[in-house]
Symmetry: C2
Subunit: 203 residues, 2 copies
DNA sequence: GTCTAAATCTTGACATCGTCAAGATGATAT
DNA sequence: ATATCATCTTGACGATGTCAAGATTTAGAC
């Protein structure tokens, strides 16, 4: 974090953090370039010195979100070294917790507000790295007989998809209270992961 | 479908269909109330006679989408009566196909552009009915030993979450081409469903 | 059939938004 | 010190969501 040094200082990062702040306070719909600029104390078109357009800012925010998600995933893995099953469980819970603690950042990361033809290489890179981290856990679990044998990529997509789908449905309010009153989210996630775990290992 | 009968005729439905059309041609970002109005041949604020605001139109479009999804799910169930496993597989594929054939409608249905405090009772109803349909299949599969014994709701959330997560990740471009080149989407979906199916049944 | 009330639609306006162009200001390198 | 470049401001544009006022058409009461 370089200190103030220029007209404003480190505006680019200030804008990203302002964006994250607005996202958490006003949600995805409340995020505008002008509000971000005002929050950072600059004029409404100052962001254009650092971001080509709004999508570009969103890409930067999403990249930041992925970095944090990656770090928490990594922590879950490290603190359960040698225990693949626990890595899977704790990693899954880390993913879900990240989504719940950063709801709107999480939504924007996967909102498809990005993509199209534009590249955003930093975003693509950290996103792929995150997937590889998931694949690492999956691979370790397969070696330990916790997950069934299968091509790693397709099993990793299953695991990630399972997590992502459950938390997405919950965040969008699609899971009725009838269900959420009976089971807490940690139970649901653990249940879902256990479904993927091979029977011999679960026993 | 009542025929033309008034100033415009059945404007409310015309606006919904115009919205779906714009959605499919220009994507979620291209959907504006004014464009919808123009497409329907009315002035820019005519929609306010039928929808309180943009969210309300989106709710109506989403409701329409859920009705179609429900119908296709229902068809998959009916045409495989007596074979729960096939109902699960075909139902899953129907869900994924709906998402792929109506990408942007699907996205807006789950984009959380809705919810908040507002109710949209028609949307909530069809959405719950859809979940119940999934639960029906799950219950039948459990009875047939295709899915493991467990509370129906939590198993249904797993199944739906698995499907929803996989297709969402794919639609948002989060699944790398390395994976998609090796496996087609039907394979991935079938694999994921098979992971949830109990070992005895799969054998 | 006429009249009134309600539903429907149009016109015009406003604030907000993303974006661009022109210019000002501060930093950097020679 | 000066020239060049990055950074930021001001002002403008069209598009958008929404509201207010009024016009038009339909439906219902008599």
């Amino acid at each position: 974090m370089p200190p103030k040094k220029y007209h404003h200082g480190d505006l680019k990062n200030a804008l990203i953090e302002a964006g994250i702040k607005i996202l958490s306070k006003e949600g995805v719909g409340g995020l505008s370039l002008r509000k971000v600029a005002k929050q950072a104390g600059v004029s409404h078109s100052a962001p254009y010195a650092h971001f080509t357009d709004k999508q570009s800012l969103i890409a930067a925010i999403s990249t930041e979100g992925f970095k944090q998600l990656y770090a928490e995933l990594d922590a879950a893995i490290s603190s359960n070294a040698g225990d693949p099953k626990q890595q899977l469980m704790e990693g899954a819970w880390a993913y879900v917790q990240f989504a719940m603690n950063n709801t709107d950042t999480f939504k924007i990361m996967f909102s498809g507000a990005l993509e199209k033809e534009k590249a955003y290489p930093a975003f693509v890179e950290i996103s792929h790295k995150t997937f590889e981290r998931v694949a690492d856990i999956v691979s370790a679990c397969q070696d330990a007989g916790v997950l069934r044998p299968a091509p790693v990529e397709i099993m990793a997509v299953s695991v990630w998809g399972q997590l992502h789908g459950i938390i997405s449905l919950i965040l969008e309010g699609q899971v009725s209270h009838v269900v959420l009153d009976r089971f807490n989210i940690q139970e649901i996630v653990a249940f879902a992961m256990n479904q993927l775990i091979s029977d011999e290992s679960a026993a």
